[in-house]
């Protein structure tokens, strides 16, 4: 049995756990914890160490999706999770420009761990105060060659589409070697 993994990272509350849950065949195994501090109380629980979901391809291949914690104080997990990954997705909450700078820092950090292909997902595009994707590209200072895709983590088709884009990017990367 061969297992491969891809990593979903991004700032606090970007929608990483939701994304994995939407396509995983198992309930996401999550090390979530109730949020106690007032400042972070925009939702009930946050990922502390990681969460992971599974997609079985056939009886000899399994894909794991790992979600990283968004909060900086848990960033010791990042390097561990990034080891051996096939590619990664940086998830950004399109409605919260205050997190864009951090998203860029996380992107740079992961890129330094492993030069594997990645895409950036502009999540929560279903909300009315979401920034436009092209505006986000400039704000995040993303090179035009990097895929930045609109995403709605609660929508299965949208999650599938972004995963496929990442896999296509990996193929292109292999071809160019």
């Amino acid at each position: 049995m061969q297992t491969v993994k891809m990593v979903v990272t991004g700032p606090f509350n970007a929608g990483k756990t939701e994304y994995i849950q939407t396509v995983s065949e198992i309930d996401v195994v999550s090390t979530e914890k109730k949020i106690s501090s007032e400042a972070e109380k925009i939702k009930d629980a946050t990922t502390v160490a990681m969460d992971f979901g599974r997609i079985t391809v056939d009886d000899s291949l399994v894909l794991y999706l790992f979600g990283t914690p968004g909060q900086k104080r848990f960033d010791f997990m990042w390097e561990i999770l990034s080891e051996g990954m096939l590619g990664f997705i940086v998830m950004v909450d399109s409605t919260r420009p205050e997190t864009f700078r951090e998203a860029r820092t996380i992107l740079e950090t992961f890129r330094a761990y492993a030069p594997t292909p990645y895409i950036v997902a502009a999540n929560k595009q279903d909300l009315s105060d979401a920034w436009e994707v092209e505006d986000m590209r400039i704000a995040l200072r993303l090179d035009p060659t990097i895929k930045l895709l609109p995403c709605v983590s609660v929508d299965r088709e949208s999650v599938k589409e972004t995963l496929l884009e990442l896999l296509e990017t990996i193929i292109t990367h292999l071809d160019s070697e």
Binding site: Q2, V4, V23, I55, T56, V57, D58, L61, L63, G84, M85, L86, T95, P97, E98, T99, F100, R101, T105, E108, A114, P115, T116, P117, S128, D129, A130, W131, E132, E134, D135, I138, A139, R141, R156, K160, L163, L164, L167, E168, I170, I171, H173, L174, D175, E177
Partner: protein
């Protein structure tokens, strides 16, 4: 869709950078703690700016403030022409030979730059960009390149922590962007900024440039950041630098490239079928 947020998280220079690169048309409305401002853009150029009370934003007060007309002339205007729109007043002044069209444009540009300089100091404020909104009918629009304004704004950035966030890696190199219509010569730069510019080359890392120019960490970061924000340069990996880290091949141990492609294609097939 929305382009809104707080200046705490997204500075005016960053907004101007966005508007410049995306060549936006519309009005940026900012509600500061004690005042509010509206800046209007056309195709990524500044067309108009307005800060605080309306009476200070009329053409008469602006011409007076920038010393294009005397106090006495301004007094007369206040009495006789207080009902006129800026456009009407402008035409009247030009036709009666008091001022030239160029005087008016220069004066407005100075005034708008003053407004932006005030805004650069705002640490806080809710902003919103209203797409497509144009300059009020009665106002005289100008056309100012944003590069200079952004360079000016970046000079206000004085916090090392913030600069470190913006520019974490000084091992990167710089190259000039090839955006059309940008002329380096038309940008006002300080001597230090020019010295940095003269070292820009895909082979030179920022660290090397800072050594060559004897600039401090803080100074080199600030200058590079302002050039980046003005859209004049972009970051690239230095040419001929250290070897890149091991590649994807090591991610799936033991598999060669064709096997890897087959594997990824199997994943693609599976996800399509979900």
């Amino acid at each position: 869709m929305a382009l809104k947020g707080n200046l705490r998280d997204f500075t005016i220079t960053q907004l101007l950078n966005l508007i410049n690169l995306a060549r936006k048309t519309g009005a940026l409305v900012i509600e500061g703690p004690s005042d509010s401002a509206t800046i209007t853009f056309r195709d990524g150029k500044l067309a108009y700016a307005h800060l605080g009370a309306s009476k200070d934003n009329g053409l008469g007060p602006i011409l007076h403030k920038t010393k294009v007309i005397s106090k006495a002339q301004f007094g007369t205007l206040k009495k006789r022409a207080s009902e006129m729109s800026d456009k009407e007043l402008g035409l009247l002044l030009i036709n009666s030979g008091y001022v030239t069209q160029e005087d008016i444009i220069t004066s407005l540009q100075t005034h708008f730059m003053d407004i932006l300089n005030k805004l650069f100091a705002w640490a806080e404020g809710i902003f919103q960009f209203k797409n497509g909104e144009s300059v009020p009918d009665d106002k005289i629009p100008v056309r100012m390149d944003l590069e200079n304004i952004i360079m000016e704004g970046s000079r206000h950035l004085r916090e090392l922590e913030q600069l470190k966030d913006e520019l974490p890696n000084l091992d990167m190199a710089l190259k000039f962007t090839d955006r059309p219509g940008v002329n380096l010569r038309s940008v006002n730069m300080s001597v230090e900024e020019w010295r940095v510019v003269s070292y820009i080359n895909p082979k030179n890392s920022i660290t090397q440039i800072s050594k060559a120019t004897s600039l401090s960490d803080m100074e080199i970061r600030r200058i590079v950041y302002s050039l980046l924000q003005a859209g004049l340069v972009e970051l690239i990996r230095p040419e001929g630098g250290p070897e890149p880290l091991p590649d994807l091949t090591s991610a799936i141990p033991g598999a060669n490239k064709d096997e890897q492609k087959t594997l990824v294609n199997r994943l693609i097939g599976r996800i399509r079928s979900l």
